[in-house]
Amino acid sequence: MVNDLKVRASFGLTGNERIAPFSYLGTWGATTYSGSSGFAPAGIDNPDIKWETTREVNIGTDISLFNSRVQATIEVYDKYTSDLLLGKPYASTTGFSAITSNIGNMQNRGIELAVSTVNLDGEVKWRTSFNISKNMNKVLTLVDSLPLYSGYIQDGVSATNVIKQGQPMGSFWGLNFLGVNPATGNAMYEDLNKDGVINNSDGMVIGNAQPKFFGGITNTISYKGFDVSILFNFSYGNSILNLTKSNLMNSGKTILYNQMREALNRWQKPGDITNVPKYELNNTFNSYQSNRFLEDGSYLRLKNVSIGYNIPPTLIQKFKLSRIRVYVTATNLWTLTKYDGSDPEVSTLDGSTAAQGIDLNTLPQVKTIAGGITISL
C-alpha cells in the first residue's frame, strides 16, 4: 500500500542580504544649492546595528500510496527572526526621520499540505492536485515596545498600518466605527481613551491582511485527443482595506470623485437609520480611517481553464505535419467573493511587508480568453 515514506527535518540559521551597506555609519552625500555643490546628511549613524537572523525549523513528510496514485507532502515550519532589520520612523528632532535598525523579533509558524492524486488512469485520465497553507505571523517584541506605523496617511489616524507587539506584521490600523448617529447623521467612532477627542490615540488594530488559509486545486482530465485543465485558487479569512471605497464613499470630503450608488443610503434627516454618514462638503470626519472600510477579502477564483484537442496523427500525416493542437485558455473567468472592490487579489503597496492588502484605485486583474492552433511540422 505504501510505496514510499520519507520523513525529513531541517534546522538552519539564515541572514538577510537585502540590506543597504554602511547603515552603521553616519553618512553624507552630495547635494547642490543655487549652483554650488556640497554635502547633505544621507544617513544617521547606528553603531548598534546587527545582522538579522532567521532560525528555521522545518519538519516534513512525503508519502506515496497505492502505486504512487496518491502522493502527499506535509510540512510544518517555525521561523523565528531576531533583530529584524527595517527602516524605522525616528524622532525628527535628531535631524533624521528614519533609521535602519533592528526593530525586534518576529515569528512565522505554518503548515503546508500538498496532495496530488491520479483518480483515473485508463482511457480517461484524471489527475488532481491540491495544496493548502496556513501561516501565522506575529511580531513578538519591538525595541522600545513602541508601535511603528506604515502604509498610507489617512484622515483621523496617523497611518493605515501598524507594526505592533503581539500582532501580525503590518496589521490594519484605524478607528472603531460604531455607526451613524441617527440624530446628527455624523459617524460615531469609539473614543478608546475617553478624552472626548477622536484622533490617533483612539486608533486600534482593526484587522490584518493575512489569510487564515489559502491554496489552490488543479484538475486535469484527458480523453483521447482532448485535455482539460482547471485551476481554482482561494484565500480565506484575510481582510482588505478598501481605500478606493473611502474615496468613493467620502461623505463630501471633496467633490472630485464620483460616488458609489451606496451613497444614496446616506443619512439625510434626523431619525434616518443607516450606516452611511451624511454628506457635507469638506467634512473629513465622516470618512476617517476606520473599520468601516475594512472588508472580508476571502475569495474562490477560477484562475485558469484550458481546453485543448490534438487532432489524431493519422489524419494529418498526409499533409506532412506531425502535430496540430487547437486550444482555448481563459484566466480569471469567475470569482466568488463578498469583497466590494474590483478585485480581492490586490495589494497596492505590493512588495511592502509592512502594508499589505490595501486597495487604492487598483485595477482588477484582466479576464482573458485566448484561443489558438499549434502546428508542428
Binding site: T27, G38, F39, S92
Partner: protein, 472 residues
Amino acid sequence: MRKYLIISTIIGAGFVFDGCHDQLNPKPIDLVVNDVVLNEPKDIEGVVIGLYRAFRLSMASTILAGDLTADNLTHNGTFAQYRELAIKQITTGNATVSELWATLYGTIYIANFMIERIPEIEGVTPAVKTRSMATAYFIRGLCYFRLATTFGGVPMVTVTDIETNRNIGRASKDEIMAFVLADYQRALGNLGSKQPTPATVCDQTVNAALARYYLYIKDYASAEQYATTVIDSKDYVLEDDYKSIITKDFTDESIFEVGYTISDDNDGTSLNDLFVSRREMIPSNNIIPIFDSISNRACGRRRLTITFKTVNQKGTDNGFEVANYGTAVADNNNIVVFRLAEMYLIRAEARAIQGKVGGANNTAQSDITQLRKRANFPRNDGPKDTVKSHWVVDTLATAPTQAQMILLIEAERRLELSYEGHRWYDLVRTGRVEQVMPPFNANWKPAYELWPIPQREIQNNPALVGEQNPGY
C-alpha cells in the same frame, strides 16, 4: 627552489588575506562619513552649502503654512494634507505639518554639527571660522523662529547627540524666542557685507530677521530701528516694476532667497508643481477681488501675483493661479525669505502702532506711499487689463486714523506679500485671526492659531507624549 616556493606562498597568502579584508570592510565610495565630512578647512564650504540646501527644503511648507492655513488659497486637488489645511480640519497626522517640522530640525542638525565641529578644525582662518559659525547660528535662529511661530514651544535641540535628541520635551515658546535672539546676536556683525547674490546671508539679512523678530514680539521701537537699518543701508532698492518680484529671481530688493538651479529644482516639494502643474491649490475666492477688481485702487501691478486662465475655469475651479513660482527653466523658481518691501511694511506697522501715522516723513504713511508708488508703475502689459487706468493706484495722499492705518497695513501686506508665507503668521501675531478666519471658513477654531505637533514625533519621542497643542 623549494625555499622560494615557500616564500612566494607566504607572500601570496598575505595578498589573499589583505584582499579578503578589503572585501569584508569596503569603504563607502559615493558617501562621506561623519568623521571626515568636516575635518579640514576646505570641508567647511561644502557643509555650509548643505546647510543652505537643508533650509531650502523647509521653505515650501513655510509658504503653505503662511498662505494655506489662512485665507489666501483654496484646495483644488486630491491630497489630504493640503485639503486639511485649506478646509480647516487640520489633523495631527498631516504630512505638510510633519514636513515643516522635519526639514527645520534637519537644518538645525547641520547647524549644530557645524557649531560643534568647526572650532576643532585646525588651520581655519579666523575670517572663515567666524563667518561659517555665524551662518550656522543665524540659520539655526531662523529655524527656531519658524518653529516657535508655527508650533509654539518646541524641543530645543542644541547638540547633535542622537540619544539626547530622540527623547526631548518641549521648551516654552518664550525660551525658544530668547534662544532665537541669542543666535541672531551671535551672527550679527560676523556675516559681513552684501553677497554676490542673496542666496547666501550677510549682516543685513540678520538685521532684516531682527526687524521681523521684534515686530512679532511687539517691540515696535526695535522693529522700526532694524527695518530702518536695512532700508538705509541702500544695499537693496525697490524694483521699479512689481512685475519683477513675480517673474524674476535675485531682484534688487531681495535680501535672502533660497536658490534653485535647473538641476536641483525637484529637490523637495515643488511650489510650481502645486500651484501651476497640478493646481492642487488655487487663489481663494476671498483674495481674488483684492487683486482682480478695478475698483481696488490699492493694488496696481501687484495684481500680477495671480493670473487667470480661461482653460482652467470649470466647476469650483475659479481659473486663477499663483504666479510667483516658475518651473525649473523659468527665472522665478527661488523662494524669497526676506525682501525690502517687507522692511517697509514692518516699519510702517511699527510706526503706526507707535503713533507715527501720518506725515510726509518717517511715518507709516510715507512707508506705505513708497510701496504704492512702485505698484503704480505705469505699464500696460497685463493680459486681462487692457486699459491703462486699471493699474492706477491711490498713493495714499492723506493718512487715515491710527486704527484704520493698522488695518490698511494688514491689507497692504496681503497685497504685497501674498504667497510668500506671511498671512497666517500675520493674523495670529496681530490677534486679528479670530475676526478674519471664521467668516472665511466656519470650520475654523482657535486651536488653528498653532499647527499641531506632528503625531509621528509624539509616537517616536517619549518626552512629547501628552504634550500636544490644545484642541488637537
